[in-house]
């Protein structure tokens, strides 16, 4: 960001304010483009993964090679669809809800380091910022559910609120573990620490459990199966976005895949070394290598999320709550305490 601002200020006949705005515009535009392209790819990937796990083909026609353009076609279709607003809906809320939902996730991307220095804002409370801003999404979901004036949407929104708020606690507790070891909330620092000391999952057994807990909680936070109660098709049509169609619906869709990306990227960054690789000094290589490594890890975890989605049946509401509060949360605390003990005693589990 600063580098970009400096570049614009130096090379274009603009003042510092304009240079800053230009830099913002470029960053936001590229980020939006990235999220859109990524979401289309992820939707296609999800459909292919789902199909092949069910011994089918999935999209095969559009675009030629294995239907690669199916999502592009779907996106164009969604953009051109009629914009329906239910007659008794609260129009302002209905209007704003998708924007709020998407902004919550989109803002999270700002603090994500894709490689050394490839970051829009190097927030020193980056992890905290991402967790906090991701919670804004719940507000948008409740707005959408309430404004739709539909029972299905309202139930979906209520479930979503209960679930996301519940699972933020174990997720945050699990994220405390790497923070405890590294001593920083800045994602770049955590990455750099792993470069020097090895991946955090290998640090001690509690970190493995913490990674698992965070991964499960992030599934719930993204409303992915088996925690897709807010969108339970068999009960709630499609949950809080039942009444949405066309472009507004596509924002919810985009948000789901974007939040999958953020949570997978957090798993990769915090526990699995980010852009580092064992035995290879990625930092010494050109920046794109680091980006590719990080994206590869991220897509691996996205794939695991899809894999889980097409493996597990949906949980009941009470099971979701008991998993969150009776299993994940206590074990999260156990992990924090255990890691603290390990670190205080200077123990190592593996010789790394």
């Amino acid at each position: 960001m600063e580098a970009l601002t400096g570049f614009f200020a130096a090379h274009l006949p603009v003042g510092p304010t304009l240079a800053l705005s230009l830099a913002y515009a470029v960053c936001i535009g590229s980020l939006l483009g990235f999220i859109t392209v990524y979401a289309m790819f992820a939707i296609w990937m999800e459909r292919k993964v789902a199909a092949h796990m069910q011994v089918r083909f999935g999209p095969m026609e559009t675009g030629g090679w294995h239907g690669w353009a199916q999502s592009v076609a779907d996106a164009v279709k969604l953009l051109f669809k009629e914009d329906l607003i239910p007659r008794d809906a609260n129009k302002v809320m209905f209007w704003f809800a998708p924007a709020v939902v998407f902004c919550g996730v989109f803002a999270g991307f700002v603090a994500i380091p894709f490689a050394v220095g490839v970051q829009i804002a190097d927030v020193n409370l980056g992890l905290f910022f991402i967790i906090a801003i991701a919670s804004v999404e719940v507000v948008g979901v409740i707005m959408a559910g309430w404004a739709s004036n539909s029972k299905y949407a309202l139930f979906g929104a209520v479930r979503e609120a209960a679930q996301v708020v519940s699972y933020e606690v174990p997720a945050a507790v699990a994220l405390l573990v790497p923070v405890l070891i590294v001593g920083s909330l800045r994602l770049g620092d955590i990455n750099g620490w792993q470069e020097a000391h090895g991946w955090l999952v290998l640090r001690n057994p509690f970190v493995i459990v913490a990674a698992l807990i965070y991964f499960i909680s992030s599934l719930a936070g993204c409303k992915r199966a088996p925690f897709d109660l807010p969108e339970a098709e068999s009960e709630l049509v499609s949950g809080f976005h039942t009444e949405y169609s066309g472009m507004r619906f596509s924002f919810f869709f985009l948000e789901e895949y974007a939040s999958m990306f953020v949570s997978s990227l957090l798993v990769a960054t915090l526990f699995f070394g980010g852009w580092t690789l064992p035995f290879v000094n990625v930092s010494a290589m050109p920046v794109p290598v680091g980006i590719v490594v990080l994206l590869a890890k991220t897509f691996f975890f996205i794939f695991v999320q899809m894999w889980l989605r097409w493996t597990l049946p949906r949980l009941r509401v009470d099971q979701v709550m008991s998993l969150g509060y009776k299993y994940l949360l206590p074990w999260g605390f156990v992990c924090v305490v255990g890691t603290a003990v390990f670190e205080a005693m200077g123990w190592r589990w593996l010789p790394v």
């Binding site: 796990m53 089918r56 083909f57 894999w307």
Partner: protein, 273 residues
């Protein structure tokens, strides 16, 4: 104590069952090729005894209308003019809106000339297209015409020529009351693989797949214009009739070739597009 056991049992159950389930889905994902086929381009093989669209060996047919009488839903309509043994075909239609594919029309046939194929694609946007004409030619073929003319000339030499014998009025399929009741008769399906004629697919031509190869230039002149009204709208799309002087033998060969071609097409194993 039991509670604690249950608690840890739940955890291990959840983990093991998830891992097991993921192993199963991974098996599907990585090992098994899709069992579905990309339908318009690849097809599943149909059972040899499949009861699909009909096919008529018109050269063998004697217009006895037993198939129409046997039909429980009266979907077969046959019209022809008899010139002695020679038939001037008007129509032999099956209304696939009514047909229930019961195969009751097959066993009564004394000449074994109507068969069911494994062709199943009959979707159409137009009701008219659901009435399929099984005839490969209508009216008289040229050698039949010559034969009749010769006979007529012979008759004309006589003092009192009788009218052309047996000009049967078009009859719709007989009502159930007049049926010779094929229901009680024991019959074996004519579609055991290798049986005469029909087991393969159809040279039926809505898609016209087999048409170009198997219908060598047979000019439209083979169809007398007088018979045209009887043919449904779908007729022009059919493979042109194997008509001409050498008709009967050629028709038989042609049919066999068509059936072989379609059989080969249908027997192709499912591909994965």
């Amino acid at each position: 104590m039991g509670g604690i056991r249950e608690y840890f049992g739940n955890i291990s159950d959840a983990l093991t069952s998830t891992v097991k389930g993921m192993a199963v889905t991974w098996q599907h994902f990585s090992k098994e090729p899709p069992i579905t086929v990309q339908y318009p381009r690849a097809r599943l093989a149909v059972a040899p005894s499949y009861r699909g669209l009909h096919i008529l060996e018109q050269a063998k047919c004697i217009d006895c209308k037993l198939c129409a009488k046997a039909c429980p839903v009266d979907c077969i309509e046959i019209e022809s003019v008899h010139h002695g043994r020679i038939l001037e075909w008007q129509k032999f239609t099956i209304d696939y809106k009514k047909c229930i594919f019961c195969e009751f029309c097959i066993p009564p046939c004394p000449k074994d000339c109507i068969h069911m194929t494994s062709e199943y694609e009959m979707a159409s946007a137009d009701n008219e297209h659901m009435i399929e004409d099984l005839l490969t030619w209508t009216g008289l073929r040229s050698n039949d015409r010559r034969e009749i003319e010769a006979a007529d000339a012979k008759k004309a030499g006589k003092p009192a020529p009788p009218p052309p014998e047996g000009v049967t009025a078009p009859q719709p399929g007989g009502p159930a009351a007049g049926n010779p009741a094929p229901y009680g008769t024991v019959y074996t399906s004519t579609f055991a693989p290798g049986s005469v004629g029909a087991p393969g697919g159809a040279p039926r031509g809505r898609r016209g797949a087999a048409a170009p190869a198997s219908a060598p230039a047979s000019p439209a002149s083979a169809k007398p214009a007088a018979a045209a009204p009887a043919a449904p709208a779908a007729a022009p799309a059919k493979p042109a009739a194997p008509a001409g002087p050498a008709a009967p033998a050629a028709a038989g060969e042609d049919m066999a070739a068509k059936i072989a071609a379609i059989k080969a097409k249908l027997a192709k194993p499912k591909g994965d597009g």
